[in-house]
Symmetry: C2
Subunit: 575 residues, 2 copies
């Protein structure tokens, strides 16, 4: 056996920020060296950030990524870190290949390089390009076909990228043939609920197939709609979980591994060091505590908001705080993400707002310490009404749009990013006013079903109580029946089924892709099924216009579920 101390940089890059990401590489490499690591590894396409989308198709961007890679290699050398091998994901490409229909220009590749002594020692390009769910990699990359095994201090280390692990018969099988002692998998694997369990099982299966220890490094942080949860892990060939990093936290995870010494006669792509290292004292295993489901989702949303604000150059947030549960939860997340001193809540009562709503909004601001102000919408609504004389839905929407305009005005005037507060249940069925409650730069709970909104609020309050803190969300915001308060006595249940039932149907229809016949067979009322499906199928325009927000479910609307706007498909329920 041979020892190897591997530093997994579970880190948070920014798309397009080649300079900033390079600095992160140097910082973590320095830290790894200080920790005595023999190898430091960065996630998939860390140098460019991930996903870069159509930037991959810009030859100037591919060239910049290649230059940045060479520059990082030099800088590592110049910093005295040249002897520490660095595995770094980046965007590669060949700028001189001839164009052909449908092949991305410049043949971009999702690649990783092994940097050593100021140069690129070895390269690997991802074989399997995912093109489902949130992924569009056939659009962006040409697949690699070579394997990459580097002998590091007497251990053969094989390298693959993300989807290569998920596909049967991929380069993992080649790892076994190569007799590697460690399979390194670098990932940009987006968070979704329960995916941590799936990943762990997958890693166990592939470690067995590869016949060696498998180190799975995932990115952490957020990029637009995607949240990367970290949760990096190491499993042995027999399936034993050796190390597991924290979820949603940037961290250099340093693990000591005992690995089979390489058969020196086998050919490899490159060699670092000469044979196994002298034995040294092992550090204890890394075993971060696991979050339960509500805690996990709350952590994902908070990280997403924090990263979106920071990476888009904002320092503060503004949101409409009505006293209802959705805006209360978003306010709590906002305060946890950027600090209450950077959160500006605006209460905008109308003629139909109940006094308790206003009290609840003020109470939340008092409890969290966020800024709080009131804008009365009646004068603006009246000014419109004098010319337009609206009634019914047009009048309800007007109130929501006056609020949206006021919020955007405050945002423009004071420089805060606006958060939209709609939840997934509402958005699924189009229960939202476009340009009204739908304004904003980011929508933290757009992928959170209403029933989970309540659960998260309860979890957050309970967490505060466990820490001896004041729960941020007033209990009456949690307990009261949901209402848009756009006409006298209005309740959500006037227009929608009870949320528990609605969320069940939506889960079956959206997440599971079940049809109307299936739903009726499952026991739902046929009329209700048709109504919910019709609402969902005709709300695509509203959903597309809604601000982006973090994906937490298997099928979030947006990148995950792309429907035509013009769509006459209506499922009939058998009766």
């Amino acid at each position: 056996m041979a020892q190897l101390r591997v530093a997994l940089a579970q880190a948070d890059p920014t798309v397009g920020d080649l300079r900033g990401n390079s600095e992160l590489v140097l910082r973590f490499a320095k830290e790894a060296a200080a920790e005595g690591a023999h190898l430091v590894v960065f996630p998939e396409m860390f140098l460019t950030g991930y996903p870069v989308e159509d930037l991959a198709l810009r030859p100037s961007f591919v060239a910049a990524s290649r230059t940045a890679l060479a520059d990082v290699a030099s800088a590592l050398g110049a910093e005295g870190l040249g002897d520490l091998p660095v595995v770094l994901g980046y965007l590669d490409g060949s700028l001189d290949d001839s164009p052909s229909v449908g092949r991305p220009a410049g043949s971009p590749q999702n690649a990783a390089a092994v940097l050593h002594r100021g140069a690129v020692l070895a390269r690997y390009a991802k074989h399997h390009l995912p093109n489902y769910g949130v992924f569009d990699e056939y659009r962006y990359f040409v697949p690699g076909s070579s394997t990459c095994v580097v002998r590091m201090h007497g251990v053969d280390v094989a390298l693959v990228i993300c989807e290569d692990l998920w596909q049967d018969g991929g380069p993992v099988a080649a790892t076994r043939d190569a007799g590697a002692g460690l399979l390194l998998v670098v990932n940009g694997s987006p968070y979704e609920l329960q995916k941590d369990d799936v990943r762990l099982e997958l890693c166990r299966r592939r470690a067995a197939e590869a016949g060696c220890t498998l180190a799975y490094l995932n990115m952490v942080g957020s990029q637009d709609e995607l949240v990367f949860d970290g949760d990096s892990l190491v499993v042995a060939a027999d399936g034993e979980l050796l190390h597991r990093a924290p979820q949603f936290v940037e961290q250099l995870v340093v693990v000591d591994l005992d690995l089979p010494a390489a058969d020196e006669r086998r050919p490899v792509d490159a060699v670092v060091g000469s044979g196994p290292l002298a034995p040294y004292d092992r550090r204890p295993a890394v075993q971060a505590p696991r979050l339960d489901d509500d805690e996990e989702v709350y952590a994902a949303l908070t990280l997403a908001v924090r990263d979106y604000v920071r990476k888009n150059g904002f320092a503060s947030l503004v949101l409409a705080l009505s006293g209802g549960i959705d805006s209360a939860l978003v306010a709590a997340i906002a305060c946890d993400a950027v600090g209450a001193e950077n959160v500006h809540a605006v209460n905008m009562p109308s003629a139909y707002s109940s006094p308790h709503s206003r009290d609840d909004a003020a109470e939340l601001a008092r409890r969290t310490g966020c800024h709080y102000r009131t804008v009365v919408i009646a004068p603006m609504v009246d000014a419109y009404q004098e010319q337009l004389h609206l009634s019914g839905l047009a009048h309800e929407n007007l109130q929501a749009r006056v609020r949206g305009t006021a919020l955007m005005a405050i945002s423009n005037d004071e420089g805060h990013l606006v958060l939209a507060t709609g939840n997934k249940s509402e958005l699924s069925v189009g229960y939202s006013t476009i340009y009204g409650d739908a304004v904003g730069g980011y929508a933290p709970i757009k992928d959170v079903a209403k029933t989970r909104v309540w659960a998260l609020a309860r979890w957050r309050n309970a967490a505060a109580e466990r820490r001896g803190e004041v729960p941020p969300i007033p209990q009456s915001s949690i307990d009261k029946p949901p209402s848009a308060e756009l006409r006298p006595g209005q309740l959500d249940t006037d227009s929608l089924p009870d949320y528990a039932l609605l969320d069940d149907i939506l889960d079956d229809y959206v997440e599971q892709d079940r049809g109307a016949a299936d739903l009726v067979a499952h026991g739902y009322d046929p009329d209700l099924v048709e109504r919910v499906l019709r609402l969902t199928d005709t709300a695509e325009f509203k959903r597309r216009q809604y601000p982006p927000g973090p994906k937490i479910s298997f099928k979030a609307f947006g990148r995950d579920r792309r429907l035509p706007i013009t769509n006459h498909w209506r499922e009939r329920a058998p009766r």
Copy 2:
């Protein structure tokens, strides 16, 4: 030689409307039979409409498409049309295959069937799945691998679908091996400027490769951002253009072809009729007149608006008419699309609107005959200002948003679809107010550069003059310097370079994907290049929130060009 009368149904389906599309099949098949056709052909995925996007991943939708196909076959038989073979594009799939990571559930296929005597005689599934530009077919379909040749009245007719024609070495080569006498290509090929020439040359080349006559049938109509231009054509093996259908017009194109008689000993997938038909009189060749570039774009935009309105269940349009050139052009398009009697123009002057703007708006309404009204925004702006005290950009945006809210209120109240009037140059650099001028259900000129906006306005006026009609657009709307009129004396050139220069840079940067260094080498000022690129790279959020609009260029924003919102990539220009 053998004769064959082929009816190409250059028709306009609606996505998801299986019943309506089936009725179109029956209507055109009837017409084809009345015209004495021996074969009637429908475009790619005509039965479901195209593109269906994630509907392809719903097992219930795949099943419905298969059922609808069988029903159409029966209905054709029941209508006495069973002897007329019908080639019909549809969505196929296999619902019993086992799931695997990344393979679309139910293995959907982009397929075409030959219907005859009440049943499916033969099937073909598209081999090559485009996954670039506006296409995402790796996401939706599994590729076919079989060829399809049907002997029809003594002529071997081979069938392929769209991208199969574009890829070298695809099933076209197999057509030659099969000795087919006619290669039928069914398409859903979206319009873009100059693509008609590319298609014609491609058809000529593939006809030579296939060694036979090639009939290219394209869809017509619009689906969200895609416009299908028709422009179906037939070329001989020697490259001669035999027939060409009109652009942007729904039409059953009936062509008489002289084709080589089949070698009866060759195996085929199915047979219709027994040997060549008795000679009959040929009809004259179809040669529709060609549109010039401005006429073509104008026709594309008009068709797109008409289809979007109709297919989304609206009958009328509303737009803000400022007196400027953008809204003037959109008003003219709107009137041509749905009739002036269904167009509602709203002039919303502010303190900074010039009197000539208002005159020009009223004059356009007078000339076209559309409805016209005025909403004065000052009272609403003042009501906001009393509480918010905005200045600068926040105050400019407020005016635009008050207009947006008024427009949406009228839309909600009266049931018109709102058109947004922004052009591609503005949107490229983010010169637009989100939730202000950016409100609307459809944005007819969002892919039209400002310089082309002027060209289209001039073309439309000249076309009216040629027909002895009143030109719809007041000359002063065309001639005056562009201004948002959101502060005293404001001109677009205060914030942006001259549009001729801006459009040149944008064309190079966006359409050609050239980098900053290339642009400077091309002679542009480095500071200007950096400024325009920075504006363009940071405007993605605004572009994503803008309503959909018809694609006319090679790289429209949206489906064609998908950029991260959070994006720190900034190109530096060499100096």
